[in-house]
């Protein structure tokens, strides 16, 4: 356990160095152009270190919050203008910050024996924050529950089982009460980074959990032959169906479908698309987004260097957009998608265009896996 102690020490010294209120780049927010009022959140690696950032649709920086290590994704409380960035798994920190840079950031440290997997959500009233976490000595997935009310100071007040191992992304269902969790099925232990410890016995699932009671309302597994297909990322389409993106951890020659849709009370459906497109995705989906119309779902594959767009109603393949190391994807305000890459690129993909049009290239910057619209 010595290593976690070191992590904590390092984290605390980072806190002291950063100071409580100095995290936001002063004045950066004022630079907003006002042309496009949509803002996006993304973690990145930059010459200044790891940061959680707010950018506009053209990739211009509005706010940068320093982080002690690599970040992953965000929980967003839009009504109160705040967000939480989670450390990438195995994550030992999260930072709550004001997306307008108007309040000092607050840090969250998971309790002993837990680490973050990188995703979380707020309850609609902003009083609770749920984070996917690893109870790593027991080898089970949990949702950490944090009191996100004003008086709560983001204290951890409990946890729910996710009904599986390695929960990755969690989303809030349209009813405002049910959480949908992607139990990736991959057992990890922080002593060994992200190494899969249970390749032969993986059991990924999609679980619906009542956020008030923790009750496991509904759970779905794919066919047993797909037990190495890790369900990892989620997004809701306009009809309220859950779309999920998978990563296949089995042999490369197996190329199972990587994208699926689930409607409550029914069996999950998988969509393969054309064989050549499936092959291009290289058994890997890194992120999902649904466009503003709610009818088009984008799935990115940084491994395959492409973003694939699907028709939400039929599950039909629509288009493939090439972007080297592209992973972050979010709905563009005027239709289509905003994409980010590990090579510093921010690009737009207009519907039917079939290509990524570069908006901004920040040298020395690597945009991390997820891009979220505020």
């Amino acid at each position: 356990m010595h290593s976690m102690e070191i992590d904590r020490r390092r984290f605390l010294s980072w806190l002291a160095a950063v100071g409580a209120g100095a995290a936001a780049s002063p004045g950066a927010w004022a630079a907003a152009s006002g042309v496009d009022s949509a803002f996006y959140l993304a973690a990145r690696k930059s010459p200044e270190g790891y940061q959680a950032t707010v950018i506009d649709g053209q990739g211009r920086l509005q706010l940068a919050v320093p982080m002690p290590a690599r970040g992953h994704s965000f929980a967003i409380d839009a009504a109160r203008g705040r967000a939480v960035v989670f450390g990438r798994q195995p994550g030992f920190f999260a930072v709550v910050f004001d997306t307008g840079g108007k309040a000092p950031p607050r840090t969250i440290v998971p309790p002993e024996g837990r680490h973050f997997f990188g995703h979380g959500v707020f309850s609609p009233d902003g009083k609770r924050l749920f984070a996917t976490e690893n109870d790593y000595d027991a080898g089970r997935g949990v949702l950490g529950i944090y009191d996100a009310s004003e008086a709560g100071a983001c204290r951890r007040i409990g946890e729910f089982s996710t009904g599986g191992i390695g929960p990755h992304e969690v989303v809030l269902m349209p009813d405002g009460r049910t959480l949908c969790v992607a139990n990736g099925g991959i057992l990890t232990h922080p002593d060994y980074g992200k190494l899969t410890l249970n390749a032969a016995d993986m059991e990924p699932s999609l679980a619906y959990i009542d956020m008030a009671t923790g009750d496991l309302l509904e759970q779905h597994r794919l066919a047993p032959s797909l037990h190495r297909l890790s369900i990892r990322h989620l997004v809701l389409d306009g009809s309220g169906a859950v779309w999920f993106g998978c990563q296949h951890t089995g042999p490369a020659q197996e190329q199972p479908p990587l994208v699926g849709r689930h409607r409550r009370g029914k069996a999950p459906e998988l969509f393969a698309g054309p064989a050549s497109v499936l092959r291009d995705m290289r058994n890997y989906v890194g992120s999902l987004a649904c466009d503003v119309s709610g009818t088009r779902v984008a799935t990115s594959s940084p491994v395959g260097g492409c973003v694939v767009v699907w028709d939400a109603a039929t599950g039909k393949f629509l288009e493939r957009i090439a972007l080297f190391d592209g992973c972050g994807v979010a709905p563009r305000r005027q239709g289509g998608f905003v994409l980010t890459s590990g090579q510093g690129e921010v690009a737009h993909a207009l519907p039917g265009d079939g290509q990524a049009v570069r908006q901004f290239l920040s040298s020395g910057v690597a945009w991390d896996n997820h891009l979220r619209r505020v």
Binding site: H2, D7, R10, F92, L197, P302, C327
Partner: protein, 448 residues
């Protein structure tokens, strides 16, 4: 690009120039603070390349390294199985008794990773003793280390990797399952000799259907080297000897049969060897020589990462006082250093076998990778030899590496090796991959 790469190459810190303390501070970090090991590192292809890919890259790797290394693993497993059988029944081994090994593939020779303990005799007259079985187990561990980094295709398919090597196992799954199974098998067998009942873990075919934690090297090592293990004095007279023997023979048999599948898939007429050797548009796995190169670079990079981050760094902890040999693979049998040396040798031989043709101004890349790996292997070998000398003619025991780690010089040697592995991985990722058009993206490198 070449100029930048060269400068980057020169900037790489050389272990020899740094003091031990500085190295520890800079390089010894627990894995959770270091770059996390990715489950599936990926290489994106298509970037401009300066080096030329050898036209016969796939065949060169398959015939020059992979197939012979798989055959060596298979033969080492057969030798273990035979040794176990004779040891358990008290029979003698004869030369003619050795199971026929598959024909060595064309062009195969010494795969370059066989250590001093690799020459187990097949012609012994006397029943093998504990020392002989220890030698055979050492050969098997080394042979495994020579193929463990080939974690694509056959080794991933059918959970072969996990069946051979269910490790690391931080929650002690293997121990728990073995103890439960042994208790049950002991009762069922009630002292009877020979193969177990159908479905039992004492039957090699049935064992293959049991949990992966029961099937491979860590389980066999536990059965041989635990405090009441088969290689301990007096084991033959101890209660439960028959069940322990039956289970260990089943594991060795299971390993031999997995080895035979691997050797066959990678052999001269093997399915996977053919795919790897003949990239084409209609090849379901490798469409181009570039993709074969990507697979090879990925194997090197992830193999280096596994060896350093998973097998080596956890044992080093944050300093000699925190070092723990029990975090290393094969600590029970005292073969951790031997395994690490064989990994480094194997990676170097795999890199050599490809015949990478670097552009003139990038030739340093290949020689640096070779150099770092050779030096890392030498550092591990020096530890292994030190431990062997201290043990005199007896097998190295568990605990010997621990004592070694607690000395400043011993610890320093392993720190040096970790630095060399880190450098080698840095060169593979940052210089070798781009040189052959296998640029590794930030998100693709370490996805989530």
């Amino acid at each position: 690009m070449a100029m930048r790469a060269r400068i980057a190459g020169r900037k790489l810190p050389r272990a020899g120039m740094m003091g031990c303390k500085a190295m520890q501070e800079r390089y010894i970090r627990p894995v959770r603070a270091a770059t996390a090991l990715t489950a599936a590192l990926a290489i994106s292809l298509g970037a401009a390349q300066a080096g030329a890919l050898p036209a016969d890259l796939g065949p060169a790797l398959a015939r020059g390294y992979i197939a012979p290394a798989m055959v060596e693993f298979q033969q080492a497993a057969v030798s273990m199985r035979e040794g176990m059988a004779a040891f358990c029944t008290g029979a003698s081994l004869h030369a003619g008794q050795t199971d026929a090994a598959p024909a060595m593939p064309e062009g195969s020779g010494k795969s370059g990773h066989e250590g001093p303990q690799a020459s187990a005799s097949h012609a012994r007259e006397a029943p093998p003793d504990a020392l002989e079985l220890d030698r055979r187990f050492g050969r098997l561990v080394q042979a495994w280390s020579g193929i463990a980094f080939l974690r694509f295709g056959p080794l991933v398919d059918s959970n072969r990797f996990e069946r051979i090597f269910f490790w690391p196992d931080p929650r002690g799954v293997m121990l728990r399952q073995i103890q439960g199974q042994l208790a049950a098998a002991g009762k069922a067998q009630a002292g009877a000799e020979g193969a177990g009942a159908p479905g039992s873990i004492l039957d090699p075919q049935a064992l293959a259907t049991h949990s992966v934690a029961l099937q491979g090297l860590p389980a066999l090592e536990y059965m041989l080297y635990r405090d009441t293990g088969l290689l301990r004095a007096g084991a033959q007279e101890a209660q439960g000897f028959a069940a322990a023997c039956g289970f260990s023979r089943a594991i060795a048999g299971n390993l031999a049969s997995i080895g035979s599948e691997l050797a066959s898939l990678w052999g001269g007429s093997g399915d996977y060897a053919a795919r790897f050797s003949k990239p084409a548009d209609d090849n379901p796995i490798y469409r181009s020589n570039q993709e074969v190169a990507g697979e090879a670079v990925k194997a090197l990079s992830t193999g280096l990462q596994f060896t350093r981050d998973i097998e080596l760094l956890p044992m080093l902890g944050s300093g000699p006082a925190k070092a723990s040999e029990k975090k290393a693979p094969f600590w029970r049998s005292g073969k951790s250093a031997l395994a690490l040396a064989a990994s480094a040798r194997g990676l170097a031989a795999f890199h050599d076998a490809a015949g990478w043709r670097y552009a003139a101004d990038e030739a340093w890349i290949g020689s640096s990778i070779d150099d770092e790996l050779t030096r890392a292997a030498a550092a591990f070998e020096s530890v292994a030899q030190g431990l062997a000398q201290a043990a005199a003619a007896a097998p190295v025991q568990a605990g010997a590496l621990q004592a070694w780690l607690e000395t400043e010089e011993g610890y320093r040697q392993l720190v040096l090796a970790s630095l060399l592995l880190k450098n080698a991985k840095g060169i593979v990722d940052e210089n070798m991959a781009p040189a052959f058009g296998a640029r590794i993206g930030f998100n693709a490198l370490d996805g989530d």
